[in-house]
C-alpha cells in the first residue's frame, strides 16, 4: 500500500516534468538536457525558501518562473548564439550544478519539520484523520491535473499553434511572418518552468533537497513521454498530455517493481537507464529519431 502510494505520488510529480520534456522532445524536436539542472534547481529554491519559513505556496510560482528563465537562457544560447541543441542543454546543465550548490550553500538541506504544501495547518484541517495518508497524493493529483489542463489550453491558443508548427515545419512559421527563434525560446521557457515546478513538488514531498536529485531526470522524462505516447497512440479519446501523465506513473511503477525484486536503492539510476533502453528498443520512436538526426 505504501509502495503504491509512493508510486502515484512520485509518478504524478514526475509527470509535471514529463509534460515539460514532452514540449521540448515531441513538439519542438529539441533534446533538452537542461532538464537535469532545472529540476534540482526548483527543488533547491523550494528547500531554501521553506527553510526560511516562507509560505510554501509561494514556492510554486517562484520555481516555475526560475525554471522559465533557465529555459529562456538555453533558448538564447541555441537561437542567438547558434550553439547546437544538445550542446546548449549540456552547457546549461553543467552550469546549473554549481548554481544549485550556490543557492543551497551545501549538497543537501533537510526541511522535515517545516510546513510544506502537503503538510500544513490548512491541509491537516481539511483532510480528516482517516484520509491523512492520502492527502499528499490527492493534492499532487490536483496540481498535476491543473498543470495538464493549462498546457492543453495553451497548445490550442494561437501562440500554442505556433509552438506546434515550429517543431513540425520551421519554414511555415517564417512564412507566417513569425520569428521561429522566438517561438523556440518561448517553448523552452514553458518546458523548463514545468520541470522546475516538478522539482519544487518533489522537494516538498521528499522533505529535503539533495544535489543528486537532478541526475537522470531527462531520462525519466523521455521514458515517460515515450511510454505514454507509444502505448496510447491508438486511443484517440485520450489527449497526448494525459498519455504522458499515465506514462510517468507506469514508469515509476516499473522502477518500483525492479527495486522490489531485490535491487538496492543505489541501483536506481542503472535500473532507470536499462528500462529506458528497453523502452526505446521496444518503441518505434528510435528509428524515426535516428533517421532525422542522420539527415541533420
Amino acid at each position: 500500500m505504501i509502495l503504491l502510494l509512493s508510486v502515484f505520488e512520485q509518478g504524478l510529480i514526475y509527470a509535471v516534468m514529463a509534460l515539460g520534456v514532452y514540449i521540448t522532445y515531441k513538439i519542438l524536436d529539441f533534446p533538452d538536457l537542461t532538464v537535469d539542472g532545472s529540476f534540482p534547481m526548483g527543488a533547491a529554491i523550494t528547500a531554501v525558501l521553506i527553510s526560511r519559513d516562507l509560505n510554501p505556496l509561494i514556492t510554486l510560482p517562484i520555481s516555475f518562473l526560475a525554471g522559465a528563465l533557465i529555459g529562456m537562457l538555453t533558448g538564447i544560447i541555441h537561437v542567438k548564439l547558434k550553439v547546437r541543441d544538445l550542446l546548449s542543454g549540456i552547457i546549461m546543465m553543467t552550469a546549473l550544478y554549481t548554481v544549485n550548490l550556490r543557492i543551497v550553500g551545501k549538497a543537501n538541506l533537510p526541511i522535515y519539520n517545516k510546513p510544506n504544501i502537503f503538510d500544513n495547518e490548512l491541509v491537516n484541517g481539511i483532510f480528516p484523520e482517516a484520509l491523512s495518508a492520502f492527502s499528499t497524493v490527492i493534492l499532487i493529483f490536483i496540481i498535476t491535473m491543473i498543470t495538464k489542463y493549462l498546457l492543453d489550453w495553451y497548445l490550442h491558443t494561437k501562440s500554442g499553434y505556433m509552438l506546434r508548427a515550429v517543431g513540425d515545419n520551421e519554414t511555415i512559421v517564417t512564412s507566417l511572418g513569425i520569428d521561429k527563434g522566438f517561438v523556440k525560446i518561448v517553448g523552452l521557457s514553458i518546458a523548463n518552468g514545468l520541470v522546475s515546478l516538478s522539482g519544487c513538488l518533489f522537494a516538498q514531498q521528499q522533505r529535503y533537497y539533495d544535489a543528486s536529485f537532478g541526475t537522470g531526470t531527462v531520462v525519466i522524462g523521455l521514458a515517460s513521454v515515450i511510454i505514454g505516447t507509444s502505448l496510447f497512440q491508438k486511443v484517440t479519446v485520450l489527449r497526448v498530455t494525459s498519455s504522458v501523465v499515465i506514462g510517468s506513473i507506469l514508469y515509476k511503477a516499473c522502477v518500483a517493481l525492479a527495486i522490489r525484486m531485490g535491487l538496492q536503492s543505489s541501483d536506481l539510476k542503472l535500473v532507470t537507464a536499462i528500462l529506458f533502453l528497453l523502452i526505446l528498443v521496444a518503441g518505434m520512436d528510435r528509428k524515426r529519431k535516428v533517421k532525422t538526426d542522420a539527415r541533420a
Binding site: Y154, H156, T157, K158, S159, G160, Y161, M162, R164, A165, D168, N169, T171, I172, V173, T174, S175, L176, G177, I178, D179, K180
Partner: protein, 257 residues
C-alpha cells in the same frame, strides 16, 4: 511595385570557388504583373526569389517594395507581406496539424499570435467555402491531419494558405515540379484563378516552359544571373513555346548541358 537595384551577389567570396551570381542586376515588377521566370539550373532563378524573400542576403544593392527599402529586413518580417508556395508540398503546411488548424494559422498571418483561441469558430464556414472551391472534397475533411493528404492536395491547401491574407506578392517556387502532370495541371489552373481573382502580383519560377508561355503576362528567361529574355504584355502574347525552347537549347549547349 518591386524593385531590385544594382544587386550583387557572390558565393564563397575570396576563395578559388568564388562564383558571381548577380552583377549589377536590375529588375522592376509592376503591381498586378504575373511574371513567369524560366532558366536552366544555376541560372539564378531560385536565388532571385530567396533574395526577394530575405532567405539569402545580398552583397550589394537595394530591394524596394512600393518605394520602401526592405534590404536589411529579416526574412520573417518580409514574409508578413509575401505569400510563398514551395516546390516541396510539405513545406507550405504543418503535417501534424489538421486542415482546420492550418487554415486558422494562415488566417491569422500579420496579426499577433497570442493567447486567444487558435480556431475561430465563426470562420469555419469561410474556410469550408474556400476549400470547396478546390473541388478536392477537402471541405469535409477539416479534422484530417494535413500529413495524410496527397502532395497535390497539400499543395492546393498551401496555395490557399499563402493567399488568404492581404499580401504584396505571391512567390511560387517551382510549385508544380513535385507533382504528377495531371495534378500539376490542376494546381496551375487553380493558381491562375487565385491570381486573377485576387489581382495579386505574382512571381513564378518554373521549369515548365509551356506554363511560362500559357500563364502570366510577363516572361523572363534567366541565364548566368542575367535576364536574357524579358517580354511583357502583347510582346509576350506573341511568343510560343518552340521559340523559347530554341533559345533555351542554345544557352544549354553553351553551358555544355
Amino acid at each position: 511595385m518591386l524593385e531590385l537595384k544594382h544587386i550583387n551577389k557572390y558565393y564563397n567570396p575570396g576563395s578559388v570557388n568564388e562564383l558571381c551570381l548577380f552583377q549589377e542586376f536590375n529588375l522592376t515588377i509592376e503591381d498586378g504583373q504575373f511574371v513567369a521566370i524560366v532558366g536552366s539550373n544555376g541560372s539564378g532563378k531560385t536565388s532571385l526569389l530567396n533574395i526577394v524573400c530575405g532567405s539569402i542576403d545580398v552583397d550589394d544593392g537595394k530591394i524596394l517594395v512600393n518605394g520602401t527599402d526592405i534590404t536589411g529586413k529579416k526574412d520573417y518580417v518580409r514574409h508578413r507581406r509575401i505569400g510563398r508556395v514551395y516546390q516541396n508540398p510539405s513545406k507550405g503546411t504543418c503535417p501534424s496539424m489538421t486542415i482546420l488548424e492550418n487554415m486558422s494559422i494562415a488566417d491569422n498571418k500579420g496579426k499577433p499570435y497570442g493567447l486567444a483561441k487558435g480556431v475561430k469558430k465563426s470562420r469555419i464556414a469561410y474556410y469550408r467555402e474556400l476549400l470547396a472551391q478546390l473541388n478536392l472534397g477537402l471541405e469535409d475533411k477539416l479534422h484530417t491531419q494535413v500529413g495524410s493528404l496527397s502532395g497535390g492536395q497539400r499543395q492546393a491547401v498551401s496555395l490557399l494558405m499563402a493567399t488568404m491574407t492581404s499580401i504584396d506578392f505571391l512567390i511560387l517556387d517551382e510549385h508544380t515540379a513535385a507533382l504528377d502532370p495531371k495534378t500539376a495541371e490542376i494546381i496551375m489552373r487553380l493558381t491562375d484563378n487565385i491570381v486573377q481573382e485576387k489581382k495579386v502580383t505574382t512571381i513564378m519560377v518554373t521549369h515548365n516552359l509551356r506554363y511560362a508561355v500559357e500563364y502570366g503576362n510577363r516572361l523572363i528567361m534567366m541565364h548566368e544571373g542575367k535576364a536574357i529574355i524579358d517580354k511583357a504584355g502583347a510582346e509576350k502574347e506573341k511568343m510560343d513555346t518552340e521559340e523559347i525552347m530554341k533559345i533555351f537549347n542554345q544557352i544549354s549547349v553553351e553551358c555544355g548541358n
